[in-house]
Point group: C3
Chain length 367, copies 3
């Protein structure tokens, strides 16, 4: 019976007690994507975010609105009611709420009682995303929304996708920060055997964690070789994975011919927003926006890359789902031994842990 | 972020601590309908009532019998055994029980040990219902069975229906006591817009809670207009909802032409027994018997009203099912702000709360 | 309301506190069948045994291997990885483990860290079975593997089957030690009405519990009558049920003509290994190997008996599944009144209880 050495296991268990995992409280003082902009319209949209049940819609003047999906009267879900102008009418006893969540009509009585209302979530729309703030509303500073400015920029063309991921958001972040998994999880899609062994540099500051991996020279997988025309075995593939916030991870990659000086040839760049919005402890809204800065007019490239990437991202979803099955079972003996390439992920999980602790200590957002 | 005022929420939470809800203990000292009379026959019927698994059958001389569905020997469900004359033979090791629940045969030994038996539930058959008593059997007083005497009376004709409701019985009672929901839940079936705003009177005494709502003048929905012929917009619709016991709610309604004196014209009356028998905390046997005092010979009226009513009652089942989804999730922040029309329902829930507390305090029925 | 006498129920509840049941801890210091030998090959086999998730395979030189199905790195199931020679490569980040569970490669770094590994379970192959040891590996004494030597013996011919039983292993053992259930559970298959009333002898020593039941004279059911030719009503059927270990129960039966002296006629014998390997508290791997010492060359007899027996054993699986539904619900009032024929089963459950207690007290196998 082989086992990790006792000292290793104990050290791992001690380290884990300072790292966020699926059981960590949600971090409230952050912006999270609650929906793609084009999902929010004149039909009531029901969605659980950070464990909170929300109903969303867009007002007649175009503003996205999110409120708690529970009537203040008898807890009936407002999403089962009707949208009437810019108000929601509860489907049970007809209480009507305005866009600010105030109850403005109780049909069974002439005068509407004062002070009844439901919680609303401050929302801000930016490019393809609707961001929501789950902490104290007085702290909802738009300047803290993670930047994705290239998405509102004609120099890039994008496609978007979504997974209802049956796994937790911490594991998704960890997956994204250690791309050595490309050689194994994505062996049949966009990984290559040399990926796991490629040299890398790490950097972290102020809650950002970045790892840059240089696979040079390499043979690109079809998803990149075909649109760039770099079909040979001396391509360069420089990938940066960056945790920018609990609600945003950006992967960018540059491709070029490693045998030519960069300055004299085209460099192709792609950027993918991986947007993990916690749904419950064990599930995540996984929004994806994939962009490129080349072949901007060619929609067949968009479709080709989107198809290929979805095959790969679906592999991640399967991995994270299997992992969640393990992690969701309580196991007092659990250990996770970290290796060198876990550096950025461990730092990120420590950061999330500290943030999560602070989130508990701060006053409840319901106040 | 709008929210109910803190004082409102705190007052609501304080009030809720004195009101029964899905988590309240069952009230044992009551009669509950365990089955329609025509469900209990010579096949073993398995059903959970007040959390207790029962097996039921009818003896050769016609008496309904209910006993705990668990052999005293190794807990095998008796409902998986066989009915033999007036005895049940366990399907595992063959122990035989008589109609009183006494074990009268152990096949593997010559003499049957004394004192082995399973609990039986006192049953009484009344019209379409079989009522059972779940408290101490010495207190099983038939006089306490709620009266539904019109069901045994040739002046009324009835139809019966059943839902296995995925919601708790307290919410069903509350639904029935506040019919302002007709304008919203039943907007497409038997509700009308004026219903929620109609004047009402309330009355309560000795554990009965009654609300009478007068919608006058009104246009009746087809379910009532068609059989009564009151198709105009000056009909009177006088509805009384009455909580008569934890196991019975009766809704009666009278219809007539509001422009004529009542004495000079026909008054049409319907009465519906809504029978909520708790199954588990979160599910209810919802028996329904609907009766009318007119068009007694016309079975097409029976069928028409039954179809129409079932559409409406199914809407309630959907509402209560959605509500149960919310209520079943533990939420320490939950609040329910009551409005004026909740008066009778709040009084009823306070009454159930007190009864439920008393039920815990009293000696266990298993004794 | 009949009930068992209070004194009987209290005595039963007191007795139950000293008897193993579905909630008892697993007994680790024992050998259990983890798989049929022919299930373990060059494909990774995933299976939960005693609550532990395992991955199994066979090395190139034919040795069966079982290890914990969880990478030491980030807990990803190894069964979702790949078998490469005699090593398993994790499907997430590529850590490679040898047959002893030692991590021998971390692709993202040049040198493999020392001391990383996963637990392996000592395995021994015996005839159709692969046995595994879940206690401390230093105690894994092959001499303690229950003997099934006839299975490796040309004088017997066998068939094998398997059920993923949705019931606990204690109930399966109890089922096997009280065959009075044949008259009821198997009334349509291999039970006969006289079975439950037949005389029996019991014997127990050193953790073995045996009951021998003599049904003489009797009419054999088709499964035995047809292959033996004993179609009359004066057959002898002598059955011994023997609990040999927590992981093995053997039922053997002899059939002959009760009107002739045994010495002057053929005696037909069958032996069935019932192998209950706990999967979780509420589920059991139920391996079955059925053997006979007659008609050795006749494969149609093998198939006939196998079909007939599986009909009967499926009846047990249904019974135990229904029973588990009852036992899995917490019920502080539960009682189980034992009768005379429960003697061996009660003794067996007391023995398992003591063993389970000792299993908790002993040092954890993970050490």
């Amino acid at each position: 019976m082989s086992m990790p050495q006792v000292s290793l296991r104990m050290a791992s268990q001690k380290a884990m007690r300072q790292m966020a995992d699926r059981n960590s409280p949600f971090i409230l003082d952050e912006w999270y994507v609650v929906a793609f902009a084009n999902e929010v319209g004149r039909a009531l949209l029901k969605r659980t975010v950070l464990g909170l049940k929300l109903v969303m819609f867009r007002t007649q003047d175009g503003a996205p609105i999110a409120m708690e999906d529970r009537c203040a009267h008898r807890s009936y879900p407002l999403s089962a009611g009707t949208l009437s102008g810019d108000t929601i009418v509860c489907g049970y006893h007809g209480l009507r709420y305005d866009r600010a969540g105030n109850c403005i009509e109780v049909p069974s009585q002439q005068h509407c009682p004062k002070g009844i209302g439901v919680r609303t979530i401050p929302l801000i729309e930016r490019g393809p995303f609707v961001w929501g703030w789950f902490g104290e509303s007085s702290k909802a500073d738009p300047l803290r929304i993670p930047t994705t400015s290239w998405l509102e920029n004609g120099a890039w063309v994008s496609s978007q996708d979504y997974f209802d991921l049956p796994g937790n958001y911490v594991s998704l972040h960890e997956n994204l920060l250690d791309l050595t998994h490309l050689s194994f999880v994505h062996a049949q899609s966009f990984g290559t055997p040399d990926y796991a062994r490629a040299p890398y540099e790490v950097e972290s500051k102020g809650g950002c964690f970045r790892i840059t991996r240089s696979v040079v020279p390499t043979r690109l997988p079809p998803v990149w070789a075909q649109p760039t025309g770099l079909h040979h075995d001396h391509a360069a593939r420089i990938t940066t994975s960056e945790f920018r916030a609990p609600g945003l991870h950006v992967v960018s990659a540059r491709f070029y011919d490693a045998n030519l000086p960069v300055s004299s040839q085209p460099v192709y760049e792609i950027r993918t927003c991986h947007v993990p919005t916690p749904q419950t402890q064990g599930s995540t809204h996984y929004f994806i926006v994939h962009s490129r800065d080349f072949a901007l007019q060619d929609s067949s490239v968009t479709e080709f890359m989107r198809e290929q990437l979805m095959i790969a991202f679906r592999e991640d979803v399967e991995v994270l789902s299997r992992l969640e099955d393990v992690l969701a079972r309580p196991d007092p003996e659990r250990y996770e031994i970290s290796i060198a390439s876990d550096g950025p992920a461990v730092a990120m999980r420590r950061y999330l842990f500290v943030r999560a602790q602070a989130s508990i200590a701060s006053p409840s957002p319901v106040g």
